[in-house]
């Protein structure tokens, strides 16, 4: 085996982190994207901007604020302490929460685009065919937005796999707990283990390319509304 045990541990941790983050974001991001696609409220703009912030913010800035919020004196940290959960920084679940914030736009924006692309008409048709709004969402919106869900899921997963700055700020570098693949590569380089860094980096490169290739080749021509 080319990879060391600690490499494999880091990869497994990374996959777990990305998987859980993607699942949580599917649940949180879908209603946010639906609301952003449908709402005409004036505060839709500010909300959309906040959702997009992680796209432009340096990960260290995001990580810094999350660290403060989740720390012993931060509002979120005090909440978790009062619930008997301790503080979250430098734990796996702290990393999950940070990743949810960090990857939020990669889930919300493709979904929002997909929802907006469906337009008003299929919803009106469903209403005239006796479907309640909730029924319409599951029987019409979800199937029609399927390509958007696949794109959003892949992007969120891949983006979480690739995070580094936020991990360092929130999770540190604890083997098996918060040491994900990107941090492991950093460690290898710091320790001048270039051969190890090369192998893990190559795995990451192949993974990222495969994901993007899959996404770009499966994208069938946009289905025309009949």
């Amino acid at each position: 085996m080319l990879l060391t045990d600690s490499d494999l541990q880091a990869i497994w941790l990374t996959i777990r982190l990305a998987g859980i983050t993607t699942l949580i974001l599917l649940l949180i991001g879908t209603p946010i994207a639906w609301w952003l696609a449908r709402s005409r409220a004036w505060w839709k703009g500010p909300v959309g901007a906040v959702v997009a912030l992680p796209l432009v913010l340096p990960p260290s800035v995001l990580g810094f604020y999350l660290l403060l919020a989740m720390g012993p004196n931060g509002p979120f940290g005090q909440l978790t302490q009062s619930l008997g959960l301790g503080t979250l920084p430098f734990t796996f679940w702290g990393l999950v929460i940070a990743s949810v914030f960090y990857s939020l736009p990669f889930m919300v924006q493709p979904l929002q685009n997909a929802f907006e692309g469906i337009g008003e008409r299929p919803l009106e048709v469903a209403a005239t065919l006796r479907a309640s709004p909730v029924d319409t969402f599951f029987s019409v919106v979800l199937p029609l937005a399927r390509p958007g869900f696949i794109t959003a899921g892949i992007l969120t997963f891949a983006h979480t796999v690739g995070e580094f700055g936020v991990v360092l700020m929130i999770g540190g570098n604890i083997p098996g707990v918060t040491r994900v693949a990107s941090v492991q590569i950093y460690d290898h380089v710091e320790a001048m283990e270039y051969a190890d860094a090369h192998r893990l980096a190559a795995v990451m490169l192949v993974f990222s390319f495969t994901v993007l290739l899959a996404m770009y080749t499966r994208r069938s021509p946009a289905r025309k509304a009949a």
């Binding site: 469903a126 479907a131 709004p133």
Partner: protein
């Protein structure tokens, strides 16, 4: 109790809708007017797809909308046909048809099988919407609306997005609906031909208001407000094919008030048809005309006289039996004949269009 009271006020930038109508609870009612006249907005208000802040809608005694009540679209017993068929692309044709049928309480009068049969789409059920022609898609759209078993069918220019050939393909199906359905249909159209063929009642819309409303024949014969179905003023008569003259390729159609000869269109004897008689094709005489190229001569009585668009012309409404015809005369010939209400006249009809 059996009718539909619809009062709506919509105020949008650059557009207002302000109607107060009492629509019949049976037959086909055409909402007729130019684009932008408010006919589609009115239909959407009836469906609950648009919510007029100030409105009242009572369907056969049941309140769908007033100051306090609002029945959302999915709880109204309607069938709605959109201008584009708007089929769900992720479902097969059968899936589209079943979508509404599954969700309706089944109390409706048209079943899924009946709808499939009525629109002739039995051979398409397994296909996907994007493999169908525009005409086929629209037939599926109509069948889908019927399969929910609606108590009223709302149609928003179902033929407008189709070319002439596809229109001709669907019109016979719509005529079957008209003949075989006993639910009211509200049919939005700007096509004079569709209105003349399908409508029993007409609501003429202009600038967000209903300028005239009533039974088709009566409303078209109104002189104070001549509604031009297409190029000219004229009336539409319900008639039955009474006789075919094979030698001369003519067909006799009988209406309430007399008979008219028209070109034989291979319509079988006994079939109900509609004929359109334009005012410019009707002339009046005092005596039985002698030899004339005009085959159709009826006995009538002048009912009323009104000015036409041109100062040299008049429109004359003539009672023929139970029906009304409209004739266009020059002012001079009207003066020479002494045309006045109550005058018995011979009505010569030069041309009759069979709507088929």
């Amino acid at each position: 109790m059996e009718n539909i009271q619809a009062r709506f006020k919509l105020d949008w930038p650059g557009f207002t809708l302000d109607v107060d109508l009492n629509l019949p609870g049976r037959g086909v009612t055409a909402l007729f007017g130019h684009s932008g006249s408010g006919k589609t907005s009115l239909l959407r208000c009836i469906a609950g797809l648009e919510r007029a802040s100030c409105g009242r809608l009572v369907f056969k005694g049941k309140i769908w909308q007033d100051e306090k009540n609002w029945l959302p679209t999915h709880r109204r017993p309607i069938g709605y046909v959109f201008q584009e068929a708007s089929l769900f692309p992720h479902l097969s044709i059968l899936g589209n048809l079943r979508y509404g049928q599954k969700r309706s309480d089944g109390a409706g009068r048209v079943g899924l099988d009946a709808a499939i049969e009525l629109l002739g789409i039995g051979h398409l059920l397994e296909r996907k919407p994007d493999t169908l022609s525009g005409g086929e898609r629209q037939r599926v759209g109509i069948a889908r609306a019927l399969a929910v078993g609606p108590e009223i069918l709302l149609m928003d220019e179902p033929l407008a997005a189709l070319d002439l050939k596809r229109k001709q393909e669907i019109l016979p199906y719509l005529e079957r609906l008209h003949d075989e359905l006993d639910i009211p249909v509200i049919y939005v159209s700007h096509s004079p031909d569709e209105v003349a063929r399908l409508a029993d009642h007409i609501v003429a819309m202009d600038g967000g208001r209903a300028v005239a409303a009533g039974p088709l024949g009566e409303t078209l014969a109104r002189l104070d407000l001549p509604i031009r179905l297409g190029e000219d003023v004229g009336v539409v008569l319900d008639a039955t094919v009474g006789e075919i003259d094979a030698e001369w390729h003519l067909a006799r159609v009988d209406f309430a008030g007399g008979s008219l000869w028209t070109r034989d269109h291979a319509v079988p004897v006994g079939k109900r048809v509609r004929v359109r008689v334009l005012a410019r094709d009707v002339s009046l005489a005092l005596d039985e005309p002698g030899m004339s190229s005009i085959q159709n001569c009826l006995d009538g009585c002048v009912e009323s006289v009104a000015a036409d668009d041109h100062p040299g012309l008049l429109l004359v409404r003539v009672q023929v039996g139970a029906s009304l015809l409209v004739a266009r005369l020059t002012r001079r010939s009207a003066a020479q004949l002494g045309i006045a209400p109550g005058l018995p006249v011979k009505v010569q009809v030069k041309s009759v269009a069979l709507m088929e």
